[in-house]
């Protein structure tokens, strides 16, 4: 019997050579998107990406100081996805995601105060300190979690899409999942149901190339994940997940037609996580060169450069923005520190709904 092939540690290729955002090489569609967004909105998106990065860096520190416990799955490297895609939806649309949920929650506009407080286990947290890092929920922002079992969130998001069809609203449901989740049954069951019932569900695979320590090459039979859409009779689109504009456009275009005529869509965004699977994972299964290559196409740096080329941001205002973001994160830490711990009676609340 031949041995099972074990992939060598090497770069997954592609993104190291990806076309960077630059004024000189913008496509017509990207130019049009920039025009449509305008300076303020694009800077707002850039700011959101910075906030995610800055927030998570503080999370790492706070974890080391043992202010945060349990699991901590960081989003760093994937900011273009949350920053771009969530700028293209309405506030009453639904969003569901996995345990790597910090970036999604921040990009939705949820205050870093209540997110940091959640991580600190405080009653002021977005889930009253009962969820933690993996379980951010917000009724106000239609964030349906924050789910800890790989693929377990996919049917939840589909339920929200079902409601839109059931009540005849024009809402869409964005369902984020990792590359690991495409090998779970729930993914396939839900693509099939979304397709037969024509539900307004946008499935977004955040393909950061690794399901924990197992590379997609070792875990998944077909590398082009949009091919899976064909098997369910739906459209599939691949997008550069390090590119803010492309991430924005893919969802903008997807929802435009689907609000009136619901149908599902599978998006594969090729991206990368800078950190390990979780805080306890040093990520030694990845080549140093691979990680460095992705840093060269860092999604935040790309947008910063573009904004400077457009003369919409100079060094000074960029620094001011970064400072402002850091202050916001500092304030979140202060808020979390100063927030009260839950009253012991909180333990038995919310088991059953009245």
């Amino acid at each position: 019997m031949p041995p099972i092939a074990v992939a060598e540690k090497k770069t997954n290729g592609g993104n190291g050579k990806a076309k960077l955002l630059s004024k000189k090489t913008l496509t017509a569609q990207q130019k049009e998107a920039i025009k449509q967004l305008g300076r303020d909105k694009l800077i707002g998106m850039f700011r959101a990406m910075n906030l995610i990065r800055s927030f998570e860096r503080r999370c790492e520190q706070m974890y080391q100081q043992r202010k945060i416990g349990g699991f901590l799955h960081l989003y760093m490297g994937q900011e273009a996805l949350a920053g771009g895609m969530l700028s293209a939806i309405h506030s009453d649309d639904y969003v569901t995601t996995s345990y790597r949920d910090h970036g999604i929650a921040l990009a939705l506009g949820i205050s870093p105060n209540v997110l940091m407080a959640e991580l600190f286990g405080k009653v002021t947290g977005v889930s009253r300190g009962k969820g933690g890092s993996m379980h951010f929920f917000s009724k106000e922002y239609n964030l349906l979690g924050g789910h800890g079992i790989v693929g377990g969130q996919i049917p939840i998001g589909l339920g929200a899409a079902f409601r839109a069809k059931y009540l005849g609203t024009d809402q869409v449901s964005l369902i984020f999942l990792g590359d690991g989740a495409v090998n779970q049954g729930s993914f396939h069951e839900c693509l099939n149901m979304a397709s037969i019932w024509k539900l307004p569900a946008i499935f977004i695979i955040e393909n950061n190339q690794y399901g924990m320590g197992t590379s997609v090459r070792r875990s998944t039979s077909v590398q082009d994940m949009t091919l899976k859409a064909q098997g369910y009779g739906m459209e599939g689109i691949t997008v550069d997940g390090m590119n803010l504009l492309d991430c924005y456009m893919v969802v903008r275009d997807a929802v435009k037609t689907r609000r009136k005529r619901p149908s599902p869509l599978l998006v594969e965004a090729k991206t990368y996580r800078y950190r390990g699977h979780s805080i306890s994972d040093p990520g030694t299964y990845r080549a140093k060169e691979e990680i460095e290559n992705y840093h060269k196409v860092d999604p935040i740096l790309q947008v910063r450069r573009l904004l400077q080329e457009l003369d919409w941001l100079d060094d000074e205002s960029a620094k001011a923005l970064e400072k402002e973001v850091r202050k916001e994160v500092d304030d979140a830490v202060t808020f979390a520190e100063e927030s009260p711990l839950p009253d012991p009676s909180e333990r038995e609340r919310h088991v059953y709904a009245p």
């Binding site: 977005v126 889930s127 049917p155 589909l158 339920g159 059931y166 069951e189 099939n192 059953y352």
Partner: protein
């Protein structure tokens, strides 16, 4: 109020139909619930009446459609999930345990999950081990879930209506062998609240706690008990969780003896919990150790003889009753 005599199956059908009429957010989803009118005909006529958006035929994807229902419940709908058999709910355990049961809590009370998961459970007749699971003890062990097991047609209707109106996820385990039994009940609207046990038979010598088909087995054996000169009090919990310990304790304090009959296996079975709670609440009132009558600790075999030898029997219950009375 006028009364009617209908089957357990018709009672469930009426409950769903009335609740769907009353509240347009209520919908039924599951395998064969629509065009086929339900594998056991519980949803007979509902598709015709309410249309395919509210009576949803699914592919064979229990985990997927159960999770879809959880998501729909999070955003304001009231799904009723039909499992063709609770054996198939095993495929959906992730959605039931990780999402339905925990989301209200984990979200700090932001997202209640008003949904019902219903269908037949427990052994039927010679359907083999994979189709004969008793899963009540599993569901009862998860905080966040409620658990109902109706034994009569009247309870089936009144409890299902309450379950649909409840704001927490309710596991509602019916019994295939009971679908055809008839019972009297008021015509039209009535509710039976969750969490209330029923004393089906009053007696003074021994309390027997039994649900669903096991309650019927005890009822069918009343002449036996009479012949033995044993006055039995039969308590049917109806709702397993939350459990009405007050009614059970009141009975045990009166009879000083308890026999628990459960259709599932003995180890960590639901009767182990009942017995612990009875010991905790009534230790000083008991005149004998509690007896449990359970299914044997082996997968349920197909062969009729072996199946019967594995399941709880009336003889075993009579024996247990005599045992707690020190009459064997």
């Amino acid at each position: 109020m006028d009364s009617q005599t209908i089957t357990y199956r018709e009672a469930l059908n009426q409950a769903m139909s009335e609740e769907m009429e009353r509240d347009e957010t209520v919908f039924l989803i599951g395998e064969e619930v629509g065009e086929y009118n339900g594998a056991y005909k519980v949803s007979q006529g509902l598709l015709e009446r309410f249309g395919p958006m509210r009576v949803v035929d699914t592919p064979i994807s229990e985990n997927g459609f159960t999770g879809l229902a959880v998501g729909a419940a999070m955003v304001g709908l009231r799904p009723v999930v039909e499992f063709m058999s609770f054996n198939f709910s095993l495929v959906a355990f992730d959605q039931i345990f990780s999402n339905a049961a925990k989301t209200y809590y984990m979200s700090g009370g932001q997202f209640p999950i008003p949904m019902v998961m219903r269908g037949p459970g427990g052994p039927a007749a010679q359907v083999g081990a994979q189709h004969s699971n008793c899963l009540d003890h599993c569901f009862a062990n998860s905080p966040g879930l409620k658990l109902v097991m109706p034994s009569t047609a009247r309870d089936a209707k009144g409890l299902l209506k309450s379950a649909i109106r409840d704001n927490s996820p309710v596991i509602f385990i019916e019994n295939e062998m009971l679908y055809g039994i008839s019972g009297d009940m008021p015509k039209g609207e009535f509710l039976i609240p969750l969490g209330e046990a029923e004393v089906r038979v009053s007696g003074k010598d021994v309390t027997i706690v039994a649900s669903s088909r096991m309650a019927h087995m005890v009822l069918s054996g009343l002449p036996e008990f009479e012949k033995e000169g044993i006055s039995v009090e039969l308590v049917d919990p109806r709702t397993i969780k939350p459990l009405d310990m007050e009614t059970i304790s009141r009975s045990v304090r009166k009879t000083h003896r308890a026999v628990i009959v459960e259709e599932g296996h003995p180890f960590a079975g639901i009767g182990a919990e009942y017995s612990h709670q009875i010991y905790s609440a009534c230790f000083d009132d008991l005149d004998a150790p509690i007896a449990r009558v359970t299914q044997a600790d082996n997968p349920l075999p197909y062969s009729k003889l072996l199946e019967a030898a594995s399941l709880p029997s009336l003889e075993a219950v009579v024996r247990a009753a005599k045992g707690v009375l020190y009459r064997d």
